[in-house]
Amino acid sequence: MNKLEVKLGDLTLKNPVIPASGTFGFGYEFARFYDLNILGSMSLKGTTKDPRYGNPLPRIAETERGIINAIGLQNPGIDAVIANELPKLKPLYNDKVIANISGFSVDEYVHTASMFDKEDQVGILEINISCPNVKAGGMAFGTSAENAAMVCREVKKAVKKPVFMKLSPNVTDIVAIAKACEEAGADGISLINTMLGMRIDLKTGKPIVSTKMAGFSGPAIKPVAVRMVYQVYEAVKIPIIGIGGIATAEDVIEFMMAGASAVQVGAQNLVNPYACRDIINDLPKVMEKYRIEKLSDIIGKAH
């Protein structure tokens, strides 16, 4: 057996390295940098029922070892993703991809998930519940266990493919939300999404990005993400995809020891488009250094 191989439920990945949603477009943008087939899988740009432009510029601010983004889920909408984006990626990537799904109502999640469910290229449906629930005053679905479970339950009823719930870290009790999703039938948990952050421009005295507050990620958030993966691993039996600040092969191992079965690399793809390739290439060396024979052996080792 390939010593980098890991399992996410019934799906076998040749290695645990997956580019994270929103930092890898619909995949094909990165094909000019390297052969995408080296990747364990890839999580595509968050897709909604209708096309979205997203937020006004500026959408990006830099911070120490991190980035703040206010993209606002720009995407062409599910119909165009199926008609144009998936076919463009198809000749470039042979394994199954992860469809990342956003919505502003339960119906929208169910609609988009059902559409992706019919696509052969898609192996996992990843439900991003960091979006505001428009009908319930705009509070994010992911900030309450009941709302998270409701989305999960309704999507599960409508689809056949495995459903991974992608959790927001902007909550007081991540464990309660993870457990609620597991009880509602989730096949796995992806965590974490971006933390809520802000940067102020000292010259203008105003927040830098147009939405003022925005999603903070990158190496700076890694300890928070490792902690949350660790906590959730203790509480649920379903597999976890660890996300947050991963930039090196050592980071991958740290997340797996905390309890992740696979990982996603986000912001680091933006500063180094070769990040995932380099991490995959470095893994065997780093495994040797820490005397790890098979990556799957170390999942949850820190417990």
């Binding site: 929103g22 890898f24 477009g25």
Partner: protein, 244 residues
Amino acid sequence: MDHIQIYTIKSNVKIAEDTFKMVLSGDTSLITAPGQFVNIQLDGLYLRRPISIHDWDEQSFTIIYKVVGKGTEQMSKMAEGEKLDILMGLGNGYTVMDKQNVAVVGGGVGVPPLYAMAKKLKAEGKHVIAVLGFGYKDQVFCEEEFKAVCDEVYVTTNDGSYGIKGFVTTAMEGKNIEYFYACGPEPMLKALHKTGIPGQLSFEARMGCGFGGCMGCSCKTLTGYKRICVEGPVMLTEEVTFDE
């Protein structure tokens, strides 16, 4: 070959107030058109810094940058022989149009990318007018370089301390300009757009990646949403809108 390469600084000199010119040696095969940019990694800073290509040949390329913050400050202190990690050949760049009487119009640190464009236009036999706009005398740079490759060169300063007093549009009045290629601050691009002369405008945005991965730089145009880093930074006057 990776699109990220390590480049060696051949020279890094001050050419105007807070403005530096840096020559870097290394592979330039990914540069395809004037108006493209590179993305530079700097010590201790997470995001790369986008800077336009001023000129290039087979073994080296030149950038001109203004010190405005931590990254450009760090660059200004680097010496010959030091190395930089650079993501190459980004953006669409300018396209030479079939128009004979043309202007290259630059404002401040928007001037640099127009130099390679002026050379290209001249090589294709066009009549090239350069209009270079600055705030005041101490900011002026590259006038001699443009004089060596253009048919006419006009420098403007807002306060009249050097050249023509006024904006780039002041200097363009009454001249035979069928088409223009421009780069500069947004108010300048807007003023050029208002003249009604057709042309190509190069835009800036805060970028997450510089190569199409993040949607951080996406803007609305009359022909749909465009990423300034991939479908830009150069856009056509007829597709650009300054509303909102």
